[in-house]
């Protein structure tokens, strides 16, 4: 059975991995390559590398950044940020990315998705949509990191992306980004109803129950997690354990199994009761040699 996916997002601004808040404020974290190394070890199903400086600096993909991140990952790497042409996408792929995600360029010229699909194959092309709701509540697509209003409804953009050959749709909520209050479930449901493609949800993760709510929606194939993964050892492993315990079908192939460990609502480990701690025995697990 195909499993749903937990995707680790690494957002890069000016060469630093950052946390993002509403697409406007950013907190520096550190080296993108080290983040990738951790997420790979912590059993990420995929890694999403988003360079938010590329568009603003009007340049294509940073090959050194992609190569540095790819060097640590034995899981698929999707690259986004400043892909303006097929040549840019090929550069990213040759640098080490496995898929490319395109947002702004596709809003300005949707046929780029068809060109990318013809050159790289649909399975390599993710149509990324940044969504913001306006006063009337309608969700519209924005480019250039939330600064360029396209005026188009997200469902229309998603439908067009699918028709032009995108393999997956990535939906990021600008309103929910960094707020840790959960995802825009209505937005995701609306898009899932509009297209027949796997959908990746992004924007708003604060607690494991948010991930569970998203993954229970029909049509949602994956959830991309950003801010929440930083600052905590084994963050993604604990998220995975909490989501598995809620009955969501995820891959679980790691010796670090937190499913039997008490975890609080925020995904933090609870301390074992004293008697259990006293009874614990420790065994040594050598790193598996493949």
């Amino acid at each position: 059975m195909l499993k749903q996916r937990l995707i680790a997002s690494i957002i890069v601004k000016d060469g630093f991995a950052v946390q993002s808040f509403g697409f406007r404020r950013f907190l520096p974290i550190g080296s993108p390559a080290i983040a990738a190394e951790h997420f790979n070890r912590w059993s990420a199903d995929e890694i999403f590398l988003l360079d938010i400086s590329a568009s603003r600096e009007q340049r294509g993909p940073d090959i050194d950044l992609i190569a540095a991140v790819a060097a640590h990952t034995f899981v698929p790497l999707t690259y986004a940020g400043g892909i303006r042409s097929v040549a840019d996408a090929v550069t990213a792929i040759k640098g080490g990315a496995d898929k490319v995600a395109v947002n702004t360029a596709a809003l300005n010229n949707p046929t780029i998705l068809r060109q990318l699909a013809e050159r790289l194959g649909s399975q390599c092309v993710v149509a990324a949509i940044d969504a913001r709701r306006d006063q009337d509540g309608a969700a519209r697509a924005f480019g250039a990191g939330g600064t360029q209003a396209s005026g188009q409804f997200v469902e229309d953009v998603a439908r067009a992306g699918g028709a032009l050959g995108a393999g997956e749709i990535l939906v990021n909520s600008i309103d929910c980004d960094g707020a840790r209050n959960g995802f825009d479930l209505q937005l995701l449901s609306d898009i899932a109803a509009a297209v027949d493609l796997p959908i990746i949800a992004m924007g708003g993760a604060g607690m494991p129950e948010h991930l569970v709510a998203v993954l229970r929606l029909p049509g949602i194939s994956a959830v991309a997690i950003g801010n929440l993964l930083h600052h905590t050892e084994h963050s993604l492993l604990k998220m995975r354990a909490a989501v598995l315990k809620a009955g969501i079908d995820l891959r679980h192939e790691t010796y670090s199994d937190y499913r039997t460990h008490p975890i609080d609502d925020f995904g933090r480990l609870r301390m074992y009761p004293g008697e259990e701690l006293s009874a614990l025995q420790f065994s040594y697990h050598a790193e598996e040699a493949i």
């Binding site: 195909l2 060097a71 194959g121 399975q123 393999g167 796997p198 194939s221 192939e253 493949i290």
Partner: protein, 211 residues
Amino acid sequence: MTEVTIVDYGMGNLTSVAHAFEFLGARTRRATTANEVSVAEVLVLPGVGAYPQAMEHLRATGLQEALFRRVIDDRRPILGICLGMQLLAESSEENGYCDGLGWLSGQVRPIPVPSGVPLPHVGWNSVDWRWDNASLSAALPDGAHFYFDHSFALLNTDADILATTDYGGEVVVAVAQDNVMGMQFHPEKSQNNGLKLLRGFLNLAAEYERC
């Protein structure tokens, strides 16, 4: 130490494949010319991209002919991954009908899925290994997951079916026919399971050397 020659026909990401084999201690080289293919011990045909373009690249660069000599005449082992496996088949219907290399029996067609099941088949799926071969898949845990990202699959094959998965029905995902092997998933992107499988492939290739 085994040297793995990765065929570079301009389609996609060789880095992941090279990285995985190097992690396992093999030497890797990239072949872009017929000469480089002609001295290859073990060949890997990776691929991400569109079928007709890939076949055209192989033809135009002379790699197709060089591969024929090395694989069919000299019988060196070759592993096709994802699009690479599909290229080894007789034909594909991606972007219109196109002949493949024809070294694996079967045709590449859209994965037969019931309505409501989306394509591409993308993500981690559990794989059932049929072939009980100690060198290839014995190190894998039961129901080991591998990463898939494809809309087309090999149908109607007479090759040995090594593994299948379930996506809207049974899908053949690994086959072997003499010295030609194909994997529809991406072992180089399937973390430890993938690495173990590639270790198995290297072991098989080394056994092949000794025969």
